[in-house]
Amino acid sequence: MSDWIKVCQLADIAPQGSRVVASSQGDIAIFRTNNDSVFGLHDKCPHKGGPLSQGIVHGDTVTCPLHGFKISLKDGAAVAPDKGCARRFAVKLDGGAVWLQLT
């Protein structure tokens, strides 16, 4: 297990919004839901590679801005009937800060 890296403060992400983190493993989208849960996904839609960070966040789901694929923030899987999965990254909240674990 690699270490947790501090990314930003929760307040730096708008509710129902996201931020992009540049990493050695490509761009990672960090999402904040309306009830202040945080999630991390590879910023690439399994459909045609659209940047998920730019989508609209609703519930625990983000809708890809390119063709409207709905991706579950919890596991990165496309909502049926669409198929595909975006890679998930572990993200947690601690003391008002958002932490990311690169695996």
Binding site: I5, K6, N34
Partner: protein
């Protein structure tokens, strides 16, 4: 608390649809037990015809496999017939003695085929056409016997006949009436259908009454004898050979069980608008029901009933079933036929008819008091769904009466090679040009996934989910695949999205009347079903709020599509394009120099002219956007809103400033209009054009507002469109000076802003409300016009260029910043 017990008698399409709808609304309210007389899970009865025709198998048409019942903790008894209801003890009793208690009971006992009371009806080889067993028997008989006779030339009879013919039998259809499908077709259409079926080898005997079925030596039926008609010629013969007789002479609601329990029945189990029987604990849906005196035999109404019933079983108590307008499609591959409503016409109606027998096309529209009340289409049913919607909505067709016959799509639809006949299309013909979906893909998805609605098809195949120009075609394919189960979407009451049951109009009204100011407030007031809405309803709600309450409701960037949030257009690779505004299409050397500098400085890979006469800088990284805007802003340039549901451009011709033909100063007029409208959000994008003379070089005829200079002033045109569907703008009025152009245009756009539904272009908006409605507010009522114009100006006052705002405000700039992390050491928490 003990869960309540719901018992469902009948495992068919209506009963299980009600259970499915109930599980969506209240998954944990009931312990559910289902009794089915057939030994299967729930299957799609509608698709028995394709099974018979050899186009599908039984496995393809299973809707709910046994696993589904288990997954949802539904107790299922197959092959068990309920014979008694004990209403006092509140239990049902099956023929084998099984008992089940209920708190609420749902009767979905369906119907029974009507068996003619004639001698020989019990002979082996005489069957009806209702279930899997009948279908299996027909398939087996076709392999061993030759002559089939179908009694009944209605929908079901013809589908049976077609299937048996395809299975290699020699098929005769015997029909009592003078033409086929008399309940769905007029004589002309029916005759065309008959000719076409005859060409496939089917035989028809019309106006023949069957007297008896005759037993052969094997004990099986061998022939069918007719009653001699008046004036009968003995040389004609009264008997035809028949190894198989299929009775398809109608259905009777299955009310025996209800009647034995003394539940009031009258041509069906009588229910009220909540699908409740005379016993308040007992509900009923489907073909067994009589609602307002009508028993429905097609699936679409049954699904509507199921939805209402589920709403009440879930204790929501708000839905009502008020009856259905019926439409029919015949599921015989290669034959396009559609009928809806009152297609026979009669007193007080006009008939608009197109009849081309050689071309194989017949269309009849029945019009009463400027509304469409019914339609029959044969050969070309492309507009069936549209006509059906007009009938259901009762929309006034006065203005489109002259071209109603030519359908909704008679001009300008692109993307599917102009094809409009679904049934004749090959499986590999492309239907949806945006997503590359062929007819075969759609049919396969409908059949294998059990899809019934356009939305389902869009979700599963993506067909018609992008630009939507092939919607009519997809609806037709859906309709011809599922036949009577097809429910066209109703424009007026169609819910905004899956998050709510409310239509756009209801939501707009509530926001205005209840003075709702935020999305959470609106969702709470209208009882949204999802906590945070979805990517479809949130942008709509955000628009409705800010357009209804300018200055009061706050814009919610997180509820805007990325382009409007980032003020640039996202491209397929995640980069953005930037289009600076060029008022009226005018620019200066200094502006062009700045644009050139920006393009070089940020290594913009593509620079191109847009259709709206300005420059597009494509391929800019998101984090560079604020820097690009700062440079452009320094030269006085602002956002072109090329990304928004907003004012886009005002295109102009050179006009009287330079042109030798110009009658009006179109460039100056265009600039004034564009400055007035700067920052205007709208239901969809808005484009204007101003031409200085009727030569119309600015192409004002296909704009949301087209202004055409004439010697005495300007002509104003509205609701044109040059996109997916080319729509020529309609003449609104003549005005005399620039101020009037501003006031009338502003008033029209404000009316659209206040009444339009989100993502509805002006052409669709005007088609919905009618040009007369627009004229009444904008042309004929000066006070109202001024008020509208003033409300527009009020909403647009103090609008700030979003680009410079993003440059200046750190909180907004965050949107564009990428977070850089140190991946080793630094801030590591243990």
């Amino acid at each position: 608390m003990r869960k309540q017990k719901l018992v469902v008698v009948g495992n068919g399409m209506a009963g299980m649809r009600a259970v499915e709808e109930l599980l969506k609304l209240a998954p944990d309210l009931y312990d559910i037990t289902v009794f089915g007389a057939e030994p299967h899970g729930n299957y799609n009865r509608i698709l028995l015809s394709p099974v018979l025709a050899g186009e599908m198998t039984i496995n393809d048409i299973i809707l709910n496999p046994l696993q589904w019942y288990a997954d949802n903790q539904i107790g299922l008894y197959t092959g068990k017939t309920i014979i008694r209801i004990d209403r006092t003890a509140r239990k049902v009793i099956a023929s084998d003695g099984t008992e089940e208690e209920y708190d609420r009971l749902l009767l979905a006992t369906g119907s029974t085929p009507f068996i003619l009371p004639i001698p020989g009806r019990d002979l082996p080889g005489v069957i009806s056409y209702r279930d899997i067993k009948d279908t299996d028997e027909m398939i087996a008989t076709a392999a061993t016997h030759k002559h089939a006779v179908v009694i009944g030339g209605g929908l079901l009879g013809l589908e049976a006949a077609n299937g048996l013919k395809l299975r290699g039998m020699d098929v005769t259809v015997v029909h009592l009436m003078p033409w086929l499908m008399e309940r769905q077709l007029d004589k002309t259409a029916a005759d065309m259908l008959k000719t076409s079926l005859e060409a496939r080898g089917l035989k028809f005997l019309l106006e023949k009454q069957t007297e008896a079925l005759i037993r052969g030596e094997s004990g099986r039926v061998c022939a069918l004898r007719f009653k001699p008609a008046p004036g009968y010629d003995p040389g004609d013969g009264l008997e035809i050979p028949a190894d198989l007789v299929v009775m398809a002479a109608g259905i009777r609601p299955n009310t025996a069980l209800a009647e034995s329990a003394k539940i009031y029945c009258n041509r069906g189990i009588v229910v009220n608008d909540t699908m409740q029987t005379y016993d308040p604990r007992i509900y009923a849906v489907g073909e067994c029901v009589a609602h307002r005196g009508i028993a429905y035999g097609l699936v679409a109404p049954l699904f509507e009933q199921a939805k209402v019933c589920a709403n009440h079983l879930a204790n929501f108590g708000i839905a009502r079933y008020t009856g259905s307008v019926l439409s029919t499609k015949l599921k015989v591959t290669g034959i396009d036929l559609f009928s809806a409503g009152n297609f026979m016409g009669g007193d007080g109606t006009d008939e608009i008819v197109l009849n081309d027998p050689s071309g194989g096309v017949y269309k009849k529209l029945v019009v009463k008091n400027d509304t469409l009340v019914g339609a029959v289409l044969y050969g070309d049913t492309a507009d069936g769904a549209w006509y059906f919607q007009l009938v259901k909505d009762g929309q006034n067709i006065h203005e489109i009466r002259d071209h109603l016959m030519f359908g909704q799509n008679h001009v300008g639809d692109v993307g599917h090679a102009g094809k409009t006949l679904a049934a004749t299309m090959a499986d590999d013909a492309q239907v949806c040009g945006c997503n590359g979906v062929c007819k075969g893909d759609i049919v396969k998805a409908i059949k294998s996934q059990g899809l019934f609605t356009l939305d389902d098809v869009r979700k599963h195949t993506k067909a018609s989910s992008s630009c939507g120009s092939c919607t009519g075609l997809v609806e037709q394919i859906l309709a011809s695949t599922v036949g009577g189960a097809y429910t066209p979407s109703e424009s007026k009451s169609k819910p905004m999205c899956g998050c709510t049951d409310h239509a756009h109009g209801v939501v707009r009204q509530a926001i205005r009347e209840q003075h709702l100011l935020t999305i959470p407030e609106t969702m709470q007031y209208l009882e949204w079903k999802t906590p945070g809405g979805c990517a479809s309803c949130r942008p709509a709600l955000n628009y409705y709020l800010i357009s209804t309450w300018p200055g009061e409701a706050r814009d919610d960037p997180q509820s805007r599509f990325i382009n409007e949030r980032a003020h640039a257009n996202i491209q397929k690779d995640g980069t953005y394009s930037v289009v600076p505004r060029m008022w009226g299409g005018l620019t200066t050397p200094a502006e062009l120099r700045t644009i050139a500098d920006v393009a070089e400085k940020y290594e913009v890979p593509t620079v191109k002219m847009t259709g709206g006469a300005r420059v597009d800088l494509l391929g800019i990284k998101k984090e560079d956007l604020p820097k690009v805007w700062a440079d452009l802003g320094a030269a006085g340039m602002v956002s072109g809103h090329a990304y928004g549901k907003s004012i886009r451009t005002v295109k102009t011709c050179v006009g009287a400033e330079h042109c030798r033909f110009g009658t009006q100063r179109s460039m100056a007029m265009g600039v004034k209009l564009e400055r007035m409208l700067f920052g205007m959000w709208s239901p969809h994008k808005v484009k204007l054009a101003v031409s200085g003379c009727p030569r119309n070089c600015a192409e004002a005829g296909i704009k949301d507002i087209g202004v055409i200079g004439v010697d005495a002033g300007y002509e104003l045109y509205v609701a044109g469109n040059g996109g997916i569907k080319t729509e020529v703008a309609q003449f609104l009025c003549k005005v005399t000076n620039d101020e009037e152009v501003m006031e009338y245009s502003g008033a029209f756009l404000q009316l659209y802003r206040e009444e339009g539904f989100y993502l509805e272009r002006t052409c669709h908006y005007v088609a919905r409300v009618g040009l007369d409605h627009v004229k009444a507010a904008v042309v004929n009522d000066p006070a109202k016009r001024r008020e509208l114009h003033e409300r527009l100006l009020f909403a647009l006052q103090d609008y700030e260029d979003p680009w410079q705002a993003a440059v200046a405000k750190p909180a907004m700039r965050r949107e564009y910043e990428v977070i850089k992390i140190k991946e080793v050491a630094a801030e590591v928490m243990t």
